[in-house]
């Protein structure tokens, strides 16, 4: 017990007690052709080292926009986002992103080249070291056999695995995942969730995972940020124990559902 406390204090000292990623009062807006839309309103949260931090909310809660702001593709109107205490101003390989869309892989490069390309373009690895590291991470997602295939010959699940391998290979401070499994069929999605958790077990990378599926949030995350829609505001921040506690997970799912749908009238009265 004492040992653990000592260890805890030590890690806090090492990290300066700071969270890895912090968002403080972040308001985000973007323009469409006709409107200026407020995507999130004064959202604050902290992500710690090795967190599996999940942002969950219905469509229109600005969760993807929030992720893009963390990626450095959008600037907040109000509030700040810091990574390791430093203000985020532009995109960078320390915040590698995995997208929902399958077209995030460069179709003119093979699986291996896609990963190597990210490593060399970022300037973090060169030549042979980059190629070897790429193959290591391709092996981690079980795609060694397909290293020389072009993306269009792969299934959706395999493409997402390549994107995850590419993201992890760069060794980002935090891996940003924007509904990475949303376009997959249910069976593949389940399998991918297990694989992702296994990868996390092995390397304990920090990830920020965005989803609209409450079940996925509870299953994948250890800490869940619940956003309400139009515009996105923090409704709750909860801890999940995931698969180690099935009953707790079920309760947590119900809790998040009631948080999100509390303001709505109960739908289809008398039918359930």
């Amino acid at each position: 017990m004492l040992m653990e406390v000592m260890k805890d204090i030590e890690t806090r000292k090492a990290g300066g007690g700071l969270p890895l990623l912090s968002a403080e009062g972040v308001t985000l807006q973007y323009k469409t052709k006709e409107h200026l839309i407020t995507a999130t309103y004064r959202v604050s949260f902290n992500v710690l080292q090795s967190d599996r931090f999940v942002i969950v909310g219905p469509s229109g809660c600005g969760k993807s926009t929030l992720l893009k702001a963390i990626g450095g593709h959008i600037r907040p109107i109000e509030g700040v986002i810091r990574l390791d205490g430093k203000l985020i101003t532009r995109p960078g390989p320390d915040r590698m992103m995995v997208f929902q869309e399958f077209d995030q892989l460069l179709p003119w490069k093979t699986v291996k080249e896609n990963v190597t390309f990210a490593l060399t373009s970022s300037g973090r690895y060169k030549g042979r070291a980059a190629a070897e590291r790429a193959m290591d991470y391709i092996a981690k997602v079980n795609l060694t056999k397909f290293a020389d295939s072009y993306p269009h010959t792969l299934s959706g699940g395999m493409k997402q695995r390549v994107a995850i391998a590419r993201g992890m290979a760069l060794g980002p401070a935090i891996l940003l995942m924007d509904e990475p499994f949303a376009a997959l069929d249910a069976l593949t999605r389940q399998k991918m969730q297990e694989e992702l958790l296994q990868l996390w077990q092995d390397t304990r990378f920090t990830m920020l995972f965005v989803t609209h599926s409450i079940a996925e949030a509870v299953h994948v995350g250890n800490r869940i940020l619940v956003l309400s829609p139009h515009p996105g505001q923090v409704r709750a921040e909860l801890t999940s124990r995931g698969r180690s506690d099935p009953e707790g997970s079920a309760r947590l799912q119900k809790q998040i559902e009631s948080l999100l749908f509390a303001d709505e009238r109960p739908r289809g009265q008398g039918h359930d």
Binding site: G92, L106, F117, S121, Y150
Partner: protein, 290 residues
């Protein structure tokens, strides 16, 4: 009648057969395979057309108007091996390549400017809108005043016919690159020219290739027409268009046909061999075009 609520139906689970389905894959007959070959079908059409031509010209019996098919082929082979046809074709191609190369380089510069800056974009959009409908051949009289009778004038009109379709298609291709790919490029640290070279150009390659093919077709037609109208260049090397014109004047109608034939053959070779090869090695291989 029983319905879904009142009826009782037991659950059933079946074993699935693994063999003994009878025919699974049956080879096609020889006729089916021959008919399935597009090349063979088209070859038959060509033979029918050539026979019709031969028969018509033979019945007409006037080689000054229409020589027979065999006479034309004979003239073609003759002129190609012993006559000036090959030299004329090469001379045309040389001028064409110069104009094409300059046009493509200018298109690249203009499009890069257009995606980098807003005034560049306005410039490109305006110029393409104004100049695309202008036939290159219509500029030739002006070009002759500016650059004199010679290669310079031809290159000028060729650049005009290549530049706009290539620039327009490339620009459209750049704009169609998905936001996801752009974000990937920015995230891994690419910017400026690196971003254009490593993300935008390959991602827009199907569009770019379409522009290049269009530019090539425009340029080839423009060149042959220009040579036909304005003839021999001052450097002494005359092209295919001039060859056709000359032979018409000398009433060597079979040679005129041979010249036209050469224009078509070169067009087909570039389109069907060079561009197709590029497509196979790039966009088809990458699954960006089927």
């Amino acid at each position: 009648m029983t319905d879904a609520v009142s009826a009782y139906r037991a659950d059933v689970v079946y074993e699935v057969q693994t063999e003994g389905f009878g025919v699974v894959a049956k080879p096609l007959t020889l006729w089916q395979r021959l008919y399935g070959s597009g090349f063979l079908r088209k070859a038959v059409v060509v033979v029918i057309l050539a026979t019709t031509w031969q028969f018509y010209a033979w019945r007409l019996g006037n080689p000054l108007i229409v020589p027979t098919f065999l006479e034309t082929v004979g003239a073609y082979v003759d002129q190609l091996l012993g006559g000036p046809l090959l030299a004329r074709a090469l001379s045309s191609l040389q001028v064409l390549l110069m104009g094409y190369a300059v046009g493509v380089v200018l298109a690249a510069a203009l499009t890069s400017l257009a995606i980098a800056t807003t005034p560049g974009r306005d410039l490109l959009e305006l110029l393409t809108a104004i100049l695309t409908p202008l036939p290159a051949i219509a500029l030739l009289p002006l070009a002759l005043i500016w650059f004199g009778l010679g290669t310079g004038s031809y290159v000028f009109v060729l650049v005009h016919s290549v530049l706009w379709p290539v620039a327009l298609n490339t620009y459209a291709g750049f704009r169609a690159v998905s936001p996801t790919l752009r974000m990937v490029g920015h995230t891994v640290g690419l910017g400026g020219l690196g971003f254009i070279a490593k993300i935008l150009i390959p991602a827009a390659f199907p569009h770019i290739l379409t522009g290049m093919k269009l530019g090539w077709a425009f340029a080839w037609r423009t060149l042959v027409a220009a040579e036909l109208v304005f003839g021999v260049s001052s450097s002494g090397s005359a092209g295919l268009g001039w060859y056709i014109y000359e032979n018409k004047n000398m009433l060597e109608i079979a040679n005129v046909f041979a010249g036209l034939f050469m224009v078509t053959v070169i067009g087909l070779l570039i389109e069907g061999i060079i561009f197709r090869k590029i497509e196979q090695l790039t966009v088809r291989r990458w699954g960006m075009q089927t």
